[in-house]
């Protein structure tokens, strides 16, 4: 205690500022900190720190409840393979796959809604052509407004995975519809359309080439 009191005030200030910064970083990382232990380990700062800790903890708690607790922050910067989260989307299940990608049922976290998420396989992004086709497909679909064309909500890329989000439409796949077809005239859907209206996002614009 005597030695620290003898230290120049500015040096003490800087050391204290370092300690507060260290604690801030640990709070933000979601660490549970034993404050008594910190106070014991830093007797020279104990008084100031004791006064400051409640405010620091309050700020950290409240800000991590908006920022840090969101797991996306931690996932997006590394190179892990597809692991449940893609940008703003939490993957729920695979609903189908085709030559141009895999379609997942997903939850858009920020808007809390279900969407269909089409993801270009990672390998395909190594070659610029499928990537360009994938983008063209998303952009073309996004330009179209028609009740029989699945609306595109947005396009994105996270950890090198390219994806676009579409409205999720519950129903049968085209393959299922065809399988269930009985011989005879084409059945009509409830809206008076023939089965050639897309019953499922999987069919999307791929059906038209």
């Amino acid at each position: 205690m005597n030695t620290s009191l003898a230290a120049p005030r500015s040096a003490l200030d800087a050391a204290f500022a370092d300690l507060v910064e260290e604690l801030t970083a640990r709070f933000h990382a979601g660490e549970v900190i034993d404050t008594d232990e910190i106070l014991r380990n830093h007797p020279e700062h104990a008084e100031r720190l004791r006064d400051l800790l409640p405010a620091l903890k309050l700020l950290a708690d409240l800000s991590t409840s908006t920022v840090g607790s969101n797991p996306i922050n931690r996932v997006t910067t590394n190179d892990e393979p597809l692991a449940g989260l893609l940008g703003d989307f939490r993957l729920i299940r695979e609903v189908g796959r085709g030559g141009m990608g895999i379609v997942y049922e997903a939850e858009q976290i920020s808007l809390n809604r279900r969407v269909a998420l089409k993801v270009l396989p990672f390998a395909a992004t190594m070659d610029p052509r499928p990537l360009q086709r994938f983008r063209n497909e998303a952009q073309a679909a996004a330009c179209l407004h028609h009740p029989n064309i699945v609306p595109v909500h947005g396009v994105g890329c996270d950890r090198g995975m390219h994806y676009y989000a579409m409205q999720l439409i519950e129903g049968q796949t085209l393959a299922e519809v065809i399988k269930n077809l009985t011989p005879g005239p084409l059945p009509e859907t409830g809206r008076g359309r023939t089965i050639f209206s897309p019953p499922h996002p999987l069919r999307g614009e791929r059906g038209w080439g």
């Binding site: 200030d13 800087a14 204290f16 500022a17 370092d18 507060v20 910064e21 801030t24 933000h28 100031r48 006064d51 400051l52 409640p54 405010a55 620091l56 309050l58 700020l59 950290a60 708690d61 409240l62 800000s63 409840s65 908006t66 920022v67 840090g68 969101n70 996306i72 922050n73 997006t76 910067t77 940008g87 703003d88 920020s110 808007l111 992004t125 610029p128 990537l131 947005g154 994105g156 890329c157 996270d158 950890r159 090198g160 390219h162």
Partner: protein, 197 residues
């Protein structure tokens, strides 16, 4: 990654632009005027700024006037300011006044912030406690000087690193830490005063 993007690596470029998406989204969510929040999604603002960043990336990579995230942050904040200006004509003067502020956090958004934090508090048992804490906190934040508030907002709400804040404020990392402590101490006193009153 910056160098790879500068060298024309398309996937590095895409990753570079998307890795800060969530952080930028929080940046906007904290500040989007509550009156506009029903019409505009923060993600859309971010999407537009990232598209703009993509267009201007070559110039940035050439000059690199500031750390990359701070550059994105500035573009994104500028988008938000434009959005506020376009859609809140009656308050043009307010917006213009706030533009000068570094952290660009209006008193309104600070007031909202407390409520938003309460909404996200987990579990009913912690709610009341959090509610009181959040209310005291945002009252205190509103009373802080701009200089103190900036450093608290940047460090805690935006969770910028000390290095990033130092670059933004054009002071040394050591000075950022000291300023942070001073701001916390003043905040602590303000919260303390409310306790007594």
């Amino acid at each position: 990654m910056l160098d790879r993007a500068a060298a024309g690596d398309a996937s590095a470029r895409a990753r570079l632009l998307s890795r800060h998406r969530q952080k930028l989204r929080n940046l906007i969510a904290l500040r989007l005027d509550p009156r506009l929040a029903a019409r505009f999604d923060p993600s859309d603002v971010v999407q537009e700024s990232l598209a703009e960043a993509d267009r201007r990336l070559a110039v940035y990579l050439n000059e690199r006037p500031m750390p990359f995230y701070l550059w994105l942050r500035e573009l994104t904040l500028q988008r938000l300011i434009d959005l506020h200006r376009r859609h809140m004509r009656t308050q043009k003067r307010t917006v213009r006044r706030e533009e000068a502020r570094l952290s660009y956090l209006s008193d309104d958004s600070i007031r909202q912030l407390g409520d938003r934090l309460i909404d996200q508090a987990s579990g009913p048992s912690r709610r009341l406690e959090n509610k009181l804490a959040a209310r005291r906190l945002h009252q205190a934040l509103a009373e802080l000087s701009e200089r103190d508030r900036d450093v608290i907002v940047l460090r805690h709400l935006e969770q910028l690193s000390v290095k990033e804040i130092a670059a933004l404020l054009e002071i040394s990392p050591g000075a950022v830490k000291v300023r942070h402590v001073r701001a916390l101490e003043r905040l602590r006193r303000l919260i303390g005063e409310e306790d007594r009153s």
